[in-house]
């Protein structure tokens, strides 16, 4: 469960400010965040992931306050408990699909590539329909296949929370649906909570909950 309370964040230099009085996401809940550009959707994901720290307030994942962690602990927290899916897939061109999926184990604090990690990567790839393409490099894969690899990478560490930032933004309609189905299915398999930023309103009915940042964001001084 994610609990955000009394959150306040402003980028250095002023201008934009994000204020979230209260937001609670239940475990396994699938939540979409929509809203115009510049309303703080990605900033919220970055705050939850511990990439930036709030000026005030708490962000708790299963009771653990992310903002209260030190740098090293936040990195370990991110590596073990959060999976990221990016709009541009962010795959590494020099690694095969299998090595891209295993990438978090190679760089994540306290994680190692062992037999169980490899088995999990292979199983995820098979479940996502790319089991026969693990030896290929990203350039040898279609966009849909690349996003499947990115999804496997996000899930391979069995995170409690999956953050998807415009994960279907670069895909054609058929791939959008397929990737979303996979994301839902695999997250459900692992009991992970899913928080997805999207501009695609056609997909919203499939989420358990939709938060519209156009109305959700509290202007400065009104929180």
């Amino acid at each position: 469960m994610i609990e955000i309370r009394d959150l306040d964040f402003a980028y250095p230099g002023g201008g934009f400010r994000l204020t979230v009085p209260e937001l609670v996401l239940e475990s396994g809940e699938r939540t979409a965040i929509v809203g115009p550009s510049g309303t703080g959707k990605t900033t919220l994901l970055n705050l939850i992931a511990g990439l930036v720290t709030p000026d005030r307030g708490t962000i708790r994942l299963d009771g653990e306050d992310i903002a209260g962690l030190g740098d090293g602990a936040r990195r370990a927290f991110r590596a073990r408990r959060i999976g990221f899916v990016f709009q541009d897939f962010a795959l590494l061109d020099y690694l095969t699909a299998r090595d891209n999926i295993l990438y978090p184990f190679r760089i994540g604090a306290g994680l190692n590539v062992d037999a169980s990690a490899r088995d999990r990567a292979d199983a995820l790839a098979r479940a996502c329909g790319i089991g026969d393409k693990l030896a290929r490099h990203p350039a040898q894969l279609s966009q849909g296949e690349q996003q499947r690899v990115a999804l496997c990478r996000a899930l391979v560490t069995e995170p409690q929370l999956v953050l998807a930032d415009e994960a279907t933004g670069n895909l054609d309609p058929s791939n959008k649906t397929a990737i979303l189905d996979l994301m839902f299915d695999r997250a459900a398999d692992q009991g992970a909570t899913l928080l997805a930023v999207t501009h695609d309103h056609d997909l919203l009915p499939r989420f358990d909950r939709v938060i519209d940042f156009a109305t959700f964001r509290q202007p400065e001084g009104t929180a």
């Binding site: 740098d71 590596a79 020099y94 990438y103 190679r106 760089i107």
Partner: protein, 385 residues
Amino acid sequence: MSILYLAFAYLRFHWIRSLVLVLVAALILAVPMVSHTLLRGSQEALTNRAEATPLLLGRRGSQIDMVMNALYFADERATPITMAATEEIWDSGLAIPVPLHTAFETNGARIVGTTLDYFDYRALEVADGRQIAVLGEAVLGAAVAQRLGLGPGDTVVSAPQNLFDLDGVYPLELKITGILAPTGTPDDEAVFTDIKTAWVIAGIGHGHDDVVSVDASDENVAAAASLLQFNRITPDNIDSFHFHGDPDDYPVSSIVVSPYDDRSATILRGRYLDPENPLQMVVPSEVIGDLVARIFRIKTLLDAVTVIVGAAALAAVALAVFLSYRLRAPEMRTAFKIGAGRGTILRLLGAETALILSASAVLAALCVILVQSRGDRLVAYLLSL
């Protein structure tokens, strides 16, 4: 291990870029060491050979050219002197003269016409076959024999000097009778023959059919219509070979002079001090000493140039690496978001740099080892240029 795995994967995937960086870095590392090795080897080879040659007699002119030609069989052609100079040394009773005739080549190797004294003087031993015995025979230096793949019983042909040289210097086939043991000196790169054989190549001596025709009778002597000159010396025609002119006038490139003692050396040097004398006698170690001093003055300049070029190349490599890091900023951001610390990212970049530098160091070390293992031959080759 994971960091090394990723670093290696990156370098392998971008193998052209990696290869260029490795080669450039290896060059930066190897060039100073190789040049130092070769220069040191050259200095030692020059000095050792010169110190083993007490005196050298030749035509007055460039002392360096004369020494380089006589000791290292370099291309510098010495204006010849005559055998009369050799006889003078013999007659003086002060030294043993060893004449050298170095005007000709075969297959890129210098043909050195000399006497058997040269082999004793340089302690050259025949490792395979036998020593030269008659006109038209040759023994090969070890490196030449290996390079040409020749052995006793094979032949080499002297290179013609000029296709239109009608009065001599015809190609002469030389029969190889032996291969010298390797010495690590310019002797390994030379083809040795008797000095008379060199004169045959020069056209001073030759063999040909009898000028009297076979059907001539006592009363009716007839000259042959054509005169066939031999370009191969065989047991059948060797007796027909003969020399024209005064033997004292036969050409010699220079003469290695081995005085019996210091006093003899001093006396001999005194005889050739007159600047009007067309001959000069030099002490090779002094000439080479000057040359080495010059080389090392130039080396200092070369070192400075190497440092500047190396620094520029290093800066270029550093810039390439830096730009590569900039291009990979999105990858680093992804790694950071996924859970990598800045230390991990730095270790990843450091591992790539370390792998490149390690490969460069290994390559540079191999170059240096290769140069060192073949140093004598390389130095001998360089000195013969």
